[in-house]
Every structure is written in C-alpha cells, then in structure tokens.
C-alpha cells in the first residue's frame, strides 16, 4: 500500500501528482471465500478489517449492493460518544470511541476525528435526574463524563439560548472526549486497509439469495454470480430484515427513515456537539462551516431513504428555539437513511439460527459512533465463536427477556 504522509504529499507535488494509485481495488468476485461480509458500510468494513488485523483471516470478500459507504455510513450526523447508561452499551461504545482516537494512525487514513466534546442538554427535571444518574454510571464504567451547570453550558457553547421560554437549560451531560469524524473517510479508510490486506471489496453486487445445506450456510447468490463461503456476516443495517428473510429467520427489527439536514456554510460559531433530546434535535458545525442537524425518526416502516417533512419542521423549530441565531440560515440539503430499530433500542451482534451465519444489526439511530468497536466485536465473534463485548447483544435476548434498555437511557437521539 502506498503510505499517505506529509512526505508523500511533498513528493507528489514535485511530480504533478502523477504517482497516486487507486486507494482500493475493484476486483471481480471469486467463486469461493472463507468469509463473506454483506454490506460495505462502516460496520461491515470494520468487521473485515479486524478479521484480517486481529485474526489473520484475509480470504474475505465484502459485498455491497450500491457504493462504498453509501448507506447510513454516508448519511449520519457523525457524532461519536459513549455516555450510555447500561454496562454492555458503555463497554462497546467506549471501546469504539477509544478506537476512533487512534483510527487515523491505525489505517493511515485521515478520518478527521475531532474530540470536540458532546453535550446532551437537560431541559426537564426528569432529564436532570436521568443524566446525573448516567454520569454516576459512567464514572463506574470508566467513561469520562460529568454533569455540568447551565453557566458552564453557556461558556462551552455561547450561541445556545439557555433561558428558552419552553425548556430552559437546567444542565447537561458533558463528554469532553466525544466528538465527530469524517464519515466517508471511515468507510474509505477501512476499504483501503482491507484491500491492502488482500481482501476483495466488491461494489454494485446485490445479494439475491442465501444458500445453505443441512442448516449450514454454503454461499450466496448475487447479481454478479454465485459466491461460496464458509462464514457469512450480514451487516446491512436497514435491510437486515430482507437478508434475514433470505437466510430463513426473523428479526426483532423494524426499518424506519431517519433524517438529517445541513445549512449553508457559515463562519465558525460552535465548537462542540449539542444534543437536545427533549425538544428533539441535535447540531454541530462541520469543518466546512455547515451546521449539521439531525432530527427524529418516522414512526412507520419505510425503505424510501426519505423522511416526512413534518419531522424536519419539528427539528428546525426546536433548534431555532435552542439556537436563536440560526433562524435565518438557509438549509442546503436534506436526506434520509433507513435505520434498523430493535425493541430495546440496542444492537444485535450475534450468531443466527443458520449455522455459519452471523448478524450485526439493530444500531438504529446511533451506529456511526460504534463502527470500530462493532467491527472489533463482530470479527471476534466470527473468528472465535464468542466475544466479550458482544456477549450481551445476542439475538435470543428478546426471548429470554434480557433487554439492554437504552431507549430510556439515551432518550430519542441515540
């Protein structure tokens, strides 16, 4: 692999940038791989990356029906945090956040991780109690967070209106090492690292059927032919139900549209991420200067990658109240992604009823922050049959009643 460095930039500058090669290959699918991962988004590519890096499994193909990172990886609001209430969640999200800190060095690709701090506003007494509890839980879990006063909130984010008429800010849960990263770069960087390890990242190749013999997976049918495999990892977020249907099992998942939007770029005015769960909106400023805004998910099943307009209206209304200065900003773009919501709003990293077939899904509205940690756990599960980080996130927890109830802990934004 061609290493990216300041020296490489200087060298290429001297020869009119003619020496840059392709970052990843565009191979034809082979007839058989040891392991096939369906879904070349962040989670799928991270799974492949750690399979190669930690376990030396490099006979791997990552299959993608669209383009690399074109699903939810390219559609989220890039927030990274790990201030969760329940121990299993805090463990996997904190592992993930810690991996983000060194990701650019690990994969020699600048993912622009910016630990600028994430602030979750408490705007009701209920939220104050909830976030104080989360801060205590995080202290025990070794996750660095604190509950801060409204004055501190105003210091950290001067454009915030803390005396709002409906919901004044009563404090906030502050995670100083949370932040954002460049979402596309995460997918591109992992794809480059996987390609470098000899793995095949195959785009525009849609899975049409899953083949099995005697309860054991043997391969997949795709739009580019049959691909045999010993192990199959399904990492397809919103389309998990479609793949599960092909593999012959059901999931406790519903797919709904979640929307985001960005404004025109403006000068730097906000160097933290702010989430306001009561009024339902969150915002940060990208390096280009756009205000990146996320809102609520629709309440009904949807595969259209568009959301309902009234959700944008609600989100913008809430944010104008919270940040009065954005009231005259023009919105540049709006889009939707299909998120996979589980009953307890926690993910599934698990074996499935089909032998040799594993699934990583259910990240719902909060998957981006979990990419490296999710891949870490999924790779371990696929290579060794068990992973301490994934232990609590099995598919059969819904039958056993062992829920990881984060819909209460995290509110709506997740």
């Amino acid at each position: 692999m061609q290493r990216y460095s300041a020296f490489a930039v200087a060298r290429e500058a001297l020869r009119h940038h003619r020496g840059w090669g392709r970052a990843w290959g565009a191979p034809e699918p082979k007839a058989h791989y040891d392991t096939v991962i369906v879904g070349a988004g962040g989670h799928g590519l991270a799974t492949a990356y750690w399979l190669g890096k930690r376990f030396g499994i490099r006979d791997v193909a990552v299959i993608e029906k669209g383009w690399l990172g074109g699903g939810n990886t390219g559609r989220n609001t890039t927030i990274i945090r790990s201030n969760y209430l329940q121990d299993p969640s805090a463990a996997i999200y904190e592992k993930s956040r810690a991996l983000y800190e060194t990701m650019s060095q690990d994969i020699n690709y600048n993912v622009m991780f910016s630990p600028r701090g994430v602030m979750m506003l408490a705007q009701t007494e209920h939220e104050v109690r909830g976030y104080r509890r989360t801060a205590q839980a995080n202290a025990l879990q070794g996750v660095e967070t604190q509950f801060i006063s409204p004055r501190r909130v105003k210091e950290l984010c001067p454009i915030l209106n803390i005396d709002g008429p409906r919901y004044p800010v009563l404090g906030a849960l502050w995670q100083p090492r949370g932040g954002t990263a460049r979402h596309d770069a995460v997918a591109w960087g992992y794809a480059r690292a996987c390609s470098d390890m000899g793995m095949d990242v195959i785009q525009q190749c849609e899975v049409t059927a899953v083949r099995s013999e005697a309860g054991q997976v043997t391969g997949i049918e795709t739009t580019r032919g049959t691909i045999g495999c010993g192990r199959l990892g399904i990492v397809v977020a919103g389309h998990s139900g479609v793949l599960a249907d092909m593999a012959g099992f059901r999931l406790p998942i519903e797919s709904v549209a979640l929307q985001a939007l960005v404004s025109e770029p403006i000068k730097p005015c906000m160097d933290v991420v702010v989430m306001a769960n009561t009024v339902h909106g969150y915002m940060s400023q990208s390096d280009k200067g756009e205000m990146v805004i996320g809102g609520g998910a629709d309440g009904y099943n949807n595969y259209t990658q568009r959301g309902s307009f009234h959700h944008i209206e609600e989100t913008v209304r809430a944010l104008v109240e919270t940040f009065p200065m954005i009231s005259r900003l023009k919105m540049l773009r709006q889009w939707g992604g299909i998120v996979d919501m589980t009953g307890d709003r926690s993910p599934i990293i698990s074996r499935t009823p089909l032998g040799g077939c594993y699934i990583n899904c259910g990240w719902g509205t909060g998957g981006f922050k979990a990419i490296p940690g999710s891949g870490w756990a999924m790779a371990e599960l696929m290579a060794k049959g068990a992973s301490p980080l994934a232990e609590a996130f099995t598919l059969d927890r819904f039958r056993q009643g062992r829920f990881i109830d984060e819909s209460v802990a995290a509110g709506v934004a997740h």
Partner: protein, 109 residues
C-alpha cells in the same frame, strides 16, 4: 406526506393527524404461551420491503384505530379498512394484487 383515508369518518388525513401503531394482525399471546411465542408477538416483525399491513389511529380526528395496506418502498397506499378483522378483507387483497402481483406477507398471498 403520507395520506390515509380513515374508514370510519372518511377523512383523507395526512400523517400529522395520524398515529402509527405498528404491524397489523398479530396473534396476541396469553398465559400458557411459551417464550418463543411471546418473543414473536412482542418483538419479531415482518418488516417487509414492499407490501405491508399496519395499524393506524386517527389520533387528531375521530380517534379510532383502523388498518392500512401500504407499500414501504413507494409509500403507495392500497387501501384502508376497519380494525375489527383478523386479516385483510378480500377487497383489499385484490387491490394489492392488482398493483403488486405475486405479493407475499406472512402466510398471506
């Protein structure tokens, strides 16, 4: 904007007037059912990419629950029908068949 016609009051209501109620025609398990049946009833969902049958409530209107047949890919609505049924009536299934030949939903076709 999704628009569903309430089969009770006849109002063509847009989605801000309606409350989604999830998958329709679930078998409600009771005492004596095993864990798998409960997990199926409480959590497992069809979540189809295509034809779907759902419960909705005309929350800001007549307040009544009803059913809708809808496509989750195009948001096309095939029809709405009363809540007091355990499966979609013939007319609704025919309306779906007219638009989506060969559709399948749970054990219905």
């Amino acid at each position: 904007m999704l628009i569903l016609t309430c089969p009770y009051c006849g109002v063509a209501a847009d989605e801000t007037e309606l409350a989604p109620g999830g998958e329709a025609h679930l078998t409600r398990e009771g005492p004596g059912s095993d864990d798998d049946a409960f997990a199926g009833y409480l959590f497992h969902r069809e979540n189809p990419k295509g034809v779907h049958f759902e419960r909705w409530r005309h929350a800001m209107g007549c307040g009544k629950w009803f059913h809708a047949a809808r496509c989750t890919v195009t948001l096309e609505v095939f029809g709405t029908y009363a809540a007091q049924v355990t499966e979609p009536p013939r007319a609704i299934r025919d309306a779906v068949s007219a638009r989506r030949p060969g559709w399948r939903w749970r054990d219905l076709t």
